[in-house]
Amino acid sequence: MEQTTAEQAYFMEQAFKMARNALDTGETPVGCVLVYENKIVGHGMNDTNRSMNGTRHAEFLAIQEMLRSYPKSALRSTDLYVTVEPCVMCASALRQYQIRSVYFGCGNERFGGTGSILTLHIDPSIDPPYPVYGGLQRQEAIMLLRRFYIQENDKAPKPRPKKHRELNTNFDDDPVASVDEATQ
């Protein structure tokens, strides 16, 4: 995404706040907000460790929050700002919820459903396609993920020791390698 407006930058920053919350609570640092009529109507952060449910991604939490106050049809006029490209699951869900458009930070070379692995936002489907705009504050999104993945996941049955991992602060413009590492 080449030019971002001040509003877009603001909403993305709110998504990053959610992602940082996630990192602070031991969750994969992915955060998002839903914006309807220029107002944030849903927040989400990854919640898989706490809930013991691998499907509790930020997007689902945000949508469920929004639906407490708005009908599903409002999603047709709603934009999603999310720090990482939606995964295959979320990309399909957003299609089913008929989101208007999606703005994301970094790509997701392991699970990405809106361009990286699959192109679910535009594939033939029984619901209309939606546009995606990637690359908003991409480096910050990757740094958050890197920070998370040098930690050990003590929620996993057999945490992998990561004593020798150091935070990589290098950005030699190799998005693949960085997100690769981040989404292992």
Binding site: T55, G113, K155
Partner: protein, 520 residues
């Protein structure tokens, strides 16, 4: 009807469990890219490899081991002869391949210059513009030729031959080729054999769960049954009869509940439908009334299991799913096989290691082999044989997501739910073939029905009236307009599961793909 009566009334479906091919198998990708070829001195081959490997990093995600690094003149494909051999090639030469991603030309020139051959005749030397500007006359300017190469390993010997003749010499390694496109055959077969005997029961119960959702008006007629293969193993090890005890291995059931959510504080779609019985909105697809994938059967199964994994966590009660009678019944059941195991343990304390079925779940190419795992018995501290053991092992005892469970569904799940099952780490997924959906994410090719066994002579006999048999075949093979994702096993995805379709001997009811298009 009482839940136990429903379970007693279940009649198993009769049919065959068949693996769903991977998209790598059904849509074999032939991807090509460009490589460089350079002529070097045959005596320097070993040094050339060393120099190239040291200076040029390889992308481990794109192994090029199937491409031969060197080709002798005699092994070069015919079409490259004019390009590479010219009129009189030196017998001293061999051709080295530099596969993609391609390094800088300047770097290659520098690396390979010491290993080039002197020109064989003056005219050749003149054709290389910089060669005579070098006063020493020793180092030759290297010619880098561009050739097309296949970037994926060949999947058959004949493909390998074709490429070797038409593109560049390749190596065919059957095991390596399969590992990149599909789960190992032995793992797939073993799991299929494990699933086959009881699949009919679970799929039949899934239909009962679907019926409950549909009849109550909470959702569409889609159901899921999650089974723990570890419990099945324990029952079998203890000499149990699965015909009697199939239901004992079920950890959770879940029905579709897409009409049950109250949006914006308004009554749900289910509540708006006055009276009992199926909701009339099931007869069409209106996105506004479809709830969302988080209310689909498979997602709800993951949610229900997650809830039970958090037994003892006070916070979990806030996340308690809204359960139907069938759903409520199954998550309350105790693990009778664990009780038996404990009884055995009290006699022989050395047997507290439970073999776990071989699992196939992996994160990288290099680990694409079955992993034998053995887990310690998770039963409660010794001497407390009265402690109830839940079928869903709580987090405190090592339970994690839906790891290594099998899920039986009435329909092919939507793309969203397919990825949800991978993220939940299910071991395998099974649905009846006639439950395929145009919106599904597992099938990898259209259903190919066997062509009626009529020899070619019988066809000629009937040449006058061919309509009827021809019609039948084309109908059976007609492919619905849909995508074939094969999400269960894609090489790009970090998690994979085994996918199976259940082909009923005598299919009954309608084919879901022919009905209303919705997401299951």
């Amino acid at each position: 009807m009482e839940v136990q009566d429903i379970i007693r009334g279940v009649q198993p479906l009769v049919g065959e469990v068949r693996p769903i091919k991977t998209v790598q198998e059904t849509q074999p990708a032939e991807e090509y890219d460009y490589a460089y070829v350079a002529e070097v001195n045959v005596k320097s081959a070993a040094k050339v490899v060393k120099v190239l490997d040291a200076a040029i990093p390889r992308d481990p995600a794109r192994p090029m081991n199937h491409l031969r690094r060197f080709a002798k003149q005699s092994n070069l494909p015919k079409h490259l002869h004019p390009l590479l051999l010219g009129d009189n090639a030196s017998p001293q030469s061999i051709f080295v391949l530099i596969p993609p991603p391609l390094p800088e030309v300047e770097l290659l020139q520098e690396l390979l210059a010491p290993f080039t051959l002197p020109p064989t005749n003056p005219s050749d030397a003149q054709s290389q513009p910089h060669s005579d500007s070098n006063p020493a006359g020793q180092v030759q300017k290297l010619h880098l030729h561009t050739v097309k190469v296949p970037t994926l390993p060949p999947l058959s010997a004949s493909q390998a031959n074709k490429w070797s003749n038409d593109l560049w010499p390749v190596v065919y390694n059957p095991a390596a080729a399969r590992a990149t496109v599909a789960p190992p055959v032995q793992v797939l077969n073993r799991t299929r054999e494990f699933i086959q005997p009881d699949a009919g029961w679970y799929l039949s119960l899934a239909r009962e769960v679907a019926k409950e959702s549909y009849q109550s008006g909470r959702g569409r007629g889609v159901g899921a049954v999650a089974v723990d293969p570890e419990i099945v193993e324990r029952i079998l090890d203890a000499g149990g009869d699965m015909e009697e005890r199939w239901a004992d291995a079920i950890v959770a059931v879940a029905g579709d509940a897409r009409y049950s959510r109250r949006e914006a504080g308004q009554p749900s779609v289910a509540e708006r439908h006055a009276g009992r019985g199926p909701n009339p909105v099931t007869q069409r697809y209106d996105a506004d009334l479809e709830g969302g994938p988080d209310l689909h059967a498979l997602m709800r199964a993951a949610e229900i299991i997650a809830y039970k994994r958090r037994v003892g966590d006070p916070d979990a009660e806030n996340d308690k799913p809204d359960l139907s009678p069938l759903e409520e019944y199954f998550i309350a059941q105790l693990d009778s096989s664990a009780l038996e195991l404990k009884a055995e343990e009290t006699q022989d304390t050395d047997t507290d290691v439970t073999p776990v079925p071989e699992k196939y779940q992996k994160t990288g190419m290099e680990e694409s082999h079955p992993i034998h795992i053995t887990s310690s018995s998770t039963s409660a501290p010794q001497g407390e044989s009265s402690t109830p053991v839940l079928r869903i092992r709580p987090r405190a005892q090592g339970g994690y997501l839906c790891t290594d469970l099998d899920v039986y569904l009435t329909h092919e799940p939507c793309v969203c739910c397919c990825m949800a099952l991978l993220l939940s780490r299910f071991r395998s997924v099974i649905y009846p073939q006639k439950g395929r959906m145009v919106s599904g994410g597992l099938a990898s090719e259209p259903v190919v029905k066997p062509v009626p066994v009529s020899g070619s002579d019988s066809e000629t006999e009937r040449e006058g009236t061919p309509q009827q048999p021809a019609q039948t075949v084309s109908d059976a093979n007609s492919s619905k307009s849909r995508e074939y994702y094969g999400i269960h096993w894609r090489k790009e995805l970090n998690w994979r599961a085994l996918g199976f379709e259940f082909v009923e001997d005598v299919p009954q009811g309608e084919i879901a793909e022919d009905g209303i298009a919705f997401y299951a």
